[in-house]
Symmetry: C2
Subunit: 562 residues, 2 copies
């Protein structure tokens, strides 16, 4: 989200843009009226028939957009994703976007959407940021239907011998609601269920979101749902959805949500927006189904992953790409001078001041992420997302530092100029794809132990000296092996603000260890979450929530949404 | 839901039916592509522009379908509603349906949809019974956003001085989940909210559902939302959504849900399916917006109300019709011989046996509802919804009893024959509309006291000797007058199974009084709920939930849904 010469707000730019009917966008990628299911004039889902047809087609090139560790200064990863795709289309490359769909929850709390910004946005942004096509509502419903069926199982005799103190399946709402983090349910006597401790996560933290995003089709979705661990029995053995016999019902609730959503950018680039799991306790990427479909429909797919390269890209490459058999062609690493200056020690309030020293110090953060991407054997380009406050000296310094280190770099001005502002980046990207060697390989093998997988990520991606496991985590490593989960990849839940597990350590920290507090199985999604520190899975609302300024105007348009 | 010669199940009949594209259905009532917003090929919402245009058009005739007190034998009110509309179209009368949309929640629990049955169904029934166009999800979200904002208000300093023990706004999910009836939220320490007792209702019991169904447009929706009482402060004064300043945000979340949904029957009669509030703690009718729109688009609208005439029709006539300025043209009262035999004392297992005496005894229930409708000054027809087990003697007896009492009556076989099975009823209906006097008047004036309104309903509609008020209710009558709520209509929450407040008393009980235990303000919806006995607002799941049999087949079709 940029703060460039902001003559118009994002929502004003969005509203002044003329969308094409989504049937025309579909036609531009070879889809006819029967291949899509309309949601109004400007949104559609791809039909199951269309998805099945695509499976046999050849795949285009997949480009991943990632970033440095996020700071309050903003990086604009989604904006660059959108602008880069627009630019590639301008250069005659048939390009699509695959992106995450935003959670409605935070909208009520803090202003800000997840559909890009300025002239690099996906539309219709109001709809996408509100109920969209109902995918998140379907996931919420499936999540809570499962919870209700678990509690009903306890109530109706508990055949599976579930230990009510060891139910790990939580309820979910697509809202920020701190009062639901820790609750007691089942109060009121024998007819009102079995009293027990429980809690609510925000919907995007539900394992069902991760499952939906890693499933290859409806059949695979059902298989993954059946494997989800919901509790342990009194013999401390895992109890799954399959044990409860309700994977069919959950699949039924998700049969429409599993179809990717087609929309367009301001410049009419087709975009599939689908799924949006957390990037800490989950893998933070849009659905495999969307990325795959986009890669069949276009020659280039620009997609993104959550947070910085230490979290989002690492998981995209080690989890999603492995699961889906995706061979990425290149990675774009987004940085801003403002954010690098914060990594170099500046406060947010001081960022308007030129500070080449801070920039040089903060460059180490970018450098580390570049090294990480290189260690995957992938071509890459650094995208410097320009802000109005960047001075010429700063811009030149950053470019020089990149060039001195042999890092391909391009300036982008997509917020202000849309695709035109991304042409330099697009050209540089095409260049590295053509000329650089691509020896993509995952950083660890699935046959490595869970402990080794975690150590590999901590040392190679974060730059840690090593990993400490809490007594609980140590016990879990043994238990999980026993349950047959040792061959799953690892999903690290770590603060996004630092390469370390301490959010205060910006730049490129060294001489630290990572502490794994606890493990959490996401067997349906197909990974083991390693929790370092506390991870908030249900956000709260601020003192003055954005809801206070929201309204609908006479014509039924959103007011105060962004 | 009939159990006639059931060669095919409802879902099989539905699936074998060939729907017309919804654009064609829209065209048949004069709506073009810009007047509707498509949800796939067979569902659409009317656009705000279309709704605004309709406001100035002349209204067609509104026919209300109601029933005797429901029994486990089944009456088939929705089925008759659909079949009657099909029949009227067959007779050359341009007719539409306005119906409630089903709640997804119970679907997971007990088989059975709410879209009619046999050859008198609205389609696509799978979609309508699952997520449909997301209206209920939007209501759930708005309900829980409000709850989160209330708890956040407590957390952030509680400027409004809300008494946390007197928060009356509950959370909601569109699920059957008894473990959520009584909960404690806000546990975990000072950062996790303020601990307090809370509970979840099923979404259709949320006041927001009633508000959406009584609002005349988006502006009125916002006004009603702002009036909703969510808590009392430490001075025991009501705190409203308007006091919190978030009616705009809630309206924003509901701006699409407020548009009615267009679908079709098996015989292509256009149907608006929109909103579905509880018929006990709310008024049990589809939205005013849908009924009004249908009456502008067609010459006849067939609509229904929940439960029997003592609840649904009374509320349709005293609350909805008054609020919306609807002058109904006639009422159809649905009865079955099976159900009347149960009202006459037979057990469900014995119903296959001919029993004219039980039928005669049970007829008293029908007779009372006929008298009630007559007391509103409305023309009416009794519809005998035929079942395969009805004997000729029983059928003739019931017809004779009606004729002897001067009650217009018609047989219907719409489950088996669709519109053809409803022609006799349609003809009889047109006849009474043409020939009978219509002196429609509400049973009470809004200027009557709340106490008198309740007494009028209890004595005139239920046949009670009088009303007793609990000490709590007595105090509330005084308080509510003080809050300025005395001029609102009354919404009775009473068992649907009996005319009395004792579900065991079938037929036409006499010599009873009604006990009002408690009052509940629904000031946004615009009525005061009078609770008699316990009303369940969050259902539970049965021992073997329907979810266990649900699945999706290879083509992505629902399995085990009905």
């Amino acid at each position: 989200m940029g703060t460039n010469i902001q003559v118009k707000s994002d929502i004003e730019i969005a509203r002044d843009s003329k969308m094409k009917p989504i049937v025309d966008i579909a036609a531009s990628i070879g889809l006819d009226a029967d291949d899509i299911e309309l949601f109004g004039k400007y949104k559609a889902k791809l039909s199951s028939e269309a998805l099945a047809k695509l499976k046999t087609k050849e795949s285009g090139k997949v480009v991943l957009v990632t970033a440095i560790n996020p700071t309050p200064a903003g990086e604009g990863k989604s904006t660059v994703t959108v602008g880069l795709a627009d630019a590639l289309n301008k250069l005659g490359k048939k390009t699509m976007i695959a992106m995450r769909e935003p959670s409605l929850g935070p909208t009520m709390g803090i202003k800000g959407g997840a559909t890009g910004g300025g002239f690099a946005q996906v539309l219709p942004m109001e709809d996408i940021n509100l109920h969209f096509t109902g995918d998140l509502h379907a996931i919420t419903t499936a999540n809570n239907a499962l919870a209700a069926l678990i509690d009903n199982h306890l109530q109706q005799g508990n055949k599976l011998n579930i230990d009510q103190r060891r139910i790990v399946w939580k309820r979910a709402l697509d809202l920020n609601d701190r009062a639901l983090r820790k609750v007691i349910v089942g109060l009121g006597g024998p007819m009102q269920g079995v009293p027990r401790e429980d809690g609510f996560d925000i919907t995007v933290a539900s394992e069902i979101m991760a499952v939906l995003c890693l499933a290859s089709d409806l059949k695979d979705l059902k298989l993954r749902l059946s494997k989800m661990v919901v509790a342990y029995n009194y013999d401390k053995q895992p109890v799954t959805v399959g044990d409860l016999g309700i994977e069919g019902a959950l699949t039924l609730l998700l049969k429409e949500a599993v179809k990717p959503n087609l929309v367009q950018t301001i410049e009419h680039t087709p975009a599939l927006i689908h799924g949006g799991p957390f990037a800490n306790i989950a893998h933070g990427c849009n659905s495999v189904i969307a990325t795959e479909a986009a890669s069949k429909l276009a020659d280039f797919v620009v997609t993104e992953a959550g947070f910085g390269a230490d979290l989002g890209a690492e998981k995209f490459l080690n989890i999603k790409a492995r699961t889906a058999g995706i061979d990425p062609s290149a990675v774009v690493i987004v940085a801003t001078i403002r954010a690098l200056k914060m990594h170099g020690g500046m406060k947010k309030t001081e960022l308007v001041n030129e500070d080449v020293k801070a920039l040089r110090d903060g460059f180490t953060n970018l450098k580390k992420h570049v090294e990480t991407i290189a260690s995957f054997g992938l071509p890459y380009v650094v995208a410097i997302n320009r802000f109005i406050t960047d001075t010429e000296l700063e811009t030149n310094t950053l470019k020089e530092m990149c060039e001195d280190a042999g890092i391909p770099v391009a300036l982008t001005e997509v917020w202000e100029k849309g695709g035109d502002g991304g042409v330099e980046l697009a050209e540089r990207l095409l260049d590295v794809i053509e000329k650089s060697e691509n020896t993509f390989a995952h950083l660890y093998d699935l046959s490595d132990s869970l402990e080794d997988k975690i150590k590999t990520i901590a040392t190679q991606v974060y730059g840690a000296d090593g990993v400490e496991f809490s007594p609980k985590a140590k016990k879990q490593l043994v238990d999980f092996d026993g349950f047959g989960w040792g061959l799953l990849p690892v999903c690290m839940a770590k603060t996004q603000y630092s390469l370390s597990d301490d959010p205060q350590k910006l730049g490129r920290p060294s001489g630290f260890t990572i502490t794994v507090r606890e493990l959490k199985p996401s067997v349906g999604a197909g990974f083991i979450v390693a929790l370092t520190g506390e991870v908030m899975t249900m956000p709260g609302l601020p003192k003055l929530p954005a809801a206070l300024n929201m309204d609908v105007d006479e014509e039924g348009n959103a007011v105060g949404l962004f």
